[in-house]
Symmetry: C2
Subunit: 392 residues, 2 copies
């Protein structure tokens, strides 16, 4: 059974609230309000071909060659033949799973995790074995013993997202080495979703592609959606040095013909942004993180660990049921004509019952809006009928 | 096992031929040289939003409402809530299969058929049961007895493409009624791929959505790729009145977040093209069809039935093996510095051994180029080492 998206399943309730005239602050989805770089949009506006043709199934060669430069700047050395342009990061996940895994295979994912891994695993007939990470220690990588306890003869891969969605946790280089040892010892793939590579606030990014001696094990799943605030473009990439995986993924790429043309132009142009382009964006996200974490922890019964990267925070709230609460926020609550949309954390856990009093907040709005959204949340927690005393 | 695309698997050989300086006429892929409507491209160039945001997972509501008008002109009455915008027609096929079928279910498809149905069926764990249509009678709908002989308790659907890719066959209203009777009697879905709806040269288009009393059975799979010569946009649609299928498909739509934004703008603008827009395009394709069919049938040992729609022709050639021949055309042959790329028909049959002396030709090039490509083919058949005497 395909599970509904925790990020989007409440959309009809948000639409109804807006129709009633309520302002909804969207902290449910990683849709930044950061402007898409004007020079990249301008490249699309300058499109002067007469025919909007299919591109190569792996994406335009000129774009893949440009991406080689981009990755080089991040200390990732690949050739353009090791890159398949995908329709968003979503398709990179899909291709990765389908190219590397058979129905019945198992993948280990520290939970909570990006809910759509589950969806794509279900679609590929793959079984997700979650191992818990905990809000108390900021969702750090689980100990090696937890991985080993979950490994069976059907285990084929570990999936990580770094920096993490939904937790914001930034894996250290030491933790990446730990993962390297596990995948080598048990001959596993490491799927690394690095959609938020540029957004690290505490420390630098340790890419899975930096790991030495495990080239054939690493499948990088990437996207320009967050990097350039270009979510609607639907352009991502599957990057690997494993030739067999590339060959298998290309069959899926050919079946869907080609990735979208316009946004490939945008992505190619964006590689030429100045080297300091990300500084301002990162500073802005850091301000937002500091604001939202401070506001959340100041609320009675609320706990939010400080995320090291990406633009998500997980918070534990004094509520009976996050799904009920998030729906209630949209259906039955408003504060001065406004409310806030959050993602119930239950959808990010695959262990039933986990995350029932947690929510994910995407700090994709400006500081003023985040403060207004936090005002709503604070007021809501005071009157929510399902409030628990302790928040535990 | 995911089969390689018959349309694209020879691409590396074509690339090598081009590097050697050989001009390659691409009749292998349905990539028209017709210009994308300027007003639709212009709509994209006028994009003036600051942020390239995710759209609704079902696509922009404004676009879906516009499509209601488009379908109305084709005698198809649907609401915008019965339309899910997809990433190309490919994704409409994918969503349709995944929403309606379980692993182990069977679908009946008259063969030869669009090869990627096979790929998406494999990805969904669905078993394709081909029933033969024949080049001798122009690939008409197989008799009802052939369908009934293929039906088992696991049969869930029939898939048709009308007008047909790869055969160009245009199903008559009477044949569509035959299909209606079968799906009603056996409670099946009818997946109707109508990507080439506008391109009918002999008779008018009988849409599956015109059938009365089978609303819950019909899944329309559509695309703007051919309609507006906008293959690179990657915009299609899944259309159905079956609420349960829509709900299931929406989960897959949400998992991949949203369809590409830029090309939705293009598709929305294109609905406002004048009503006679397709006349010129259709006349041009008809000229090409007439040219290619005449040239093919004039070659010794070649037989090509006259296709009623789409822009494909299937031809039987006096050759030992279409895969070998098509590769040889790219690897070992040239005629005055030129060669032609064709799609071996074997990849459009799922019955092993079928189509070994057939190829698909997409008449997507102008008449002069088609004639030059036919000159190459004619010359090639004269010297191909695997030529058979009779062509039978």
């Amino acid at each position: 059974m395909m599970p509904p998206s925790p990020i989007r399943k409440l959309v009809p309730f948000a639409e109804a609230a807006k129709k009633r005239g309520t302002k909804v602050y969207h902290l449910n989805i990683g849709q930044p309000d950061i402007e898409t770089p004007e020079m990249a949009l301008e490249a699309v506006r300058r499109f002067d071909r007469k025919v909007l043709e299919y591109s190569h199934s792996a994406g335009n060669e000129s774009y893949r060659r440009k991406l080689v430069q981009y990755y080089h700047k991040s200390g990732i050395e690949v050739s353009h033949e090791q890159i398949i342009i995908t329709t968003g990061g979503s398709e990179a996940i899909q291709f990765g799973f389908m190219a590397c895994l058979d129905a019945g295979d198992e993948v280990i994912i520290p939970e909570p995790f990006y809910a759509n891994y589950n969806g794509f695993a279900v679609a590929a007939g793959v079984i997700v074995k979650p191992i818990p990470s905990h809000i108390e220690d900021g969702f750090a990588l689980p100990p090696i013993s937890a991985f080993e306890a979950a490994i069976t003869p059907r285990t084929k891969a570990i999936v990580i997202c770094n920096p993490n969605n939904p937790t914001g946790y930034l894996y250290s280089a030491a933790e990446m080495e730990t993962l390297k040892n596990i995948i080598l010892r048990y001959n596993l793939f490491l799927f690394a979703d690095e959609a938020y590579r540029e957004f690290c606030y505490s420390g630098t990014h340790a890419s899975a592609m930096h790991l030495q001696g495990v080239d054939d094990h690493i499948i990088l799943m990437d996207t320009i959606s967050k990097r350039y605030s270009a979510c609607g473009g639907r352009i991502g990439a599957l990057v690997t040095k494993n030739k067999a995986v590339l060959d298998a993924a290309m069959k899926f790429a050919q079946a869907r013909l080609s990735p979208p043309s316009f946004a490939q132009i945008l992505g190619e142009a964006a590689v030429d942004l100045p080297d300091d382009y990300f500084e301002a964006t990162k500073a802005e996200y850091k301000r937002r993180r500091d604001t939202i974490v401070k506001r959340l922890n100041a609320m009675d019964g609320v706990f939010c660990p400080n995320p090291g990267g990406a633009f998500y925070a997980m918070a534990r709230l004094p509520i009976d049921d996050a799904d009920r609460f998030c729906q209630w926020l949209l259906e039955s609550f408003e504060h001065q004509g406004k409310t806030v949309m959050l993602a119930p954390a239950t959808g990010f856990y695959s262990t039933p019952g986990s995350g029932k009093n947690e929510v994910r907040l995407a700090y994709v709005l400006n500081v003023a809006d985040i403060n207004a959204a936090m005002d709503c949340l604070d007021a809501a927690l005071n009157i929510y009928p399902g409030r628990t005393t302790t928040g535990a």
